[in-house]
Symmetry: C2
Subunit: 146 residues, 2 copies
DNA sequence: CTTGCCTCTATAGTCGCTGTAGACTGTAGG
DNA sequence: CCTACAGTCTACAGCGACTATAGAGGCAAG
């Protein structure tokens, strides 16, 4: 199976047809061959590239980084310091997001332990959101439930 | 200082002027008073509401949830089960994202330990992105660096 | 009075897609 | 061969949550 239509490629790579065309339009995929009637025809390397893109995106790499890495792949004789740098940057970013999310988790737990099913006007979640500095002291003992 | 212009509100609440007007346009803020020349004039409760919105957004609450909570605040005599439910949902979501990010961190670490500054065509980061199932075995011993 | 910042409205642009419309193509069954 | 029907084509609009721009008018200090 050397040539496949966009729909088959879509299934093979797990990327929607419209998204593939979109990637083409922003020059992430080269221009594919066309059948006599104008339908796009792809080879297996298109599956590779799409999986690469999708995987990188799943890992949270920004589009720009993906593009850079793809460009680098077209010059395979260079050293890969640049690729390494991109990955390290991404790792740092992920770490930052992890820290933020952890703080966030703690705060949400706190909010929830503070809400005891009263009325909205005394609700601790609401007041926590209104004023960041509330309801910390008495939360600690109840956190185990979460 | 009972009435302030949008710029002062912006500074007081840490939300950009344009964003405030945007929130007004999507009915998150009520219509403010206007000066004789048509400039928006806000009271302190606007600072409250904006901080609430910003804080909730920082915590990752979706806009829709923010809107719901604001609506609930206008009916302060109801019980706050709904608010609690929203917060719990958000907590579950945060947990999910945490798990994903942790997996992601692990994979990025793996990718980086595998990349030894060779050439792009042998770069393990690139090949990891191309094919998910590589380069796991020999990574473990070097992970400590990260 | 002028300078310079603030505010106004309305509109377009951002990112990373997704969805739509309306036409054409390719294929399988009868 | 004809008919269905699924797949494909282009071009463009829409999404969320803002951000930026243009061009006009407002306000306070020097």
């Amino acid at each position: 199976m050397t040539q496949m239509t966009i729909g088959r490629l879509s299934k093979a790579a797990g990327v929607k047809v419209t998204t593939i065309r979109y990637y083409e339009s922003i020059d992430l995929m080269g221009e594919p061959d066309r059948s006599s009637s104008g339908q796009r025809l792809y080879g297996d390397e298109a599956v590779q590239r799409l999986s690469f893109i999708r995987h990188a995106r799943d890992l949270g790499f920004p589009m720009e980084a993906v593009r850079e890495m793809i460009d680098l792949q077209t010059q395979p004789d260079q050293d890969c310091t640049a690729v390494d740098a991109i990955a390290r940057e991404q790792l740092a970013d992920v770490r930052k997001r992890l820290t933020q999310l952890e703080a966030l988790e703690a705060e949400l737990k706190r909010m929830i332990t503070c809400c005891e099913g009263g009325r909205v006007d005394t609700c601790r979640i609401i007041s926590t959101l209104n004023d960041h500095s509330e309801c910390i002291a008495d939360a600690h003992e109840r956190l185990s439930t979460f």
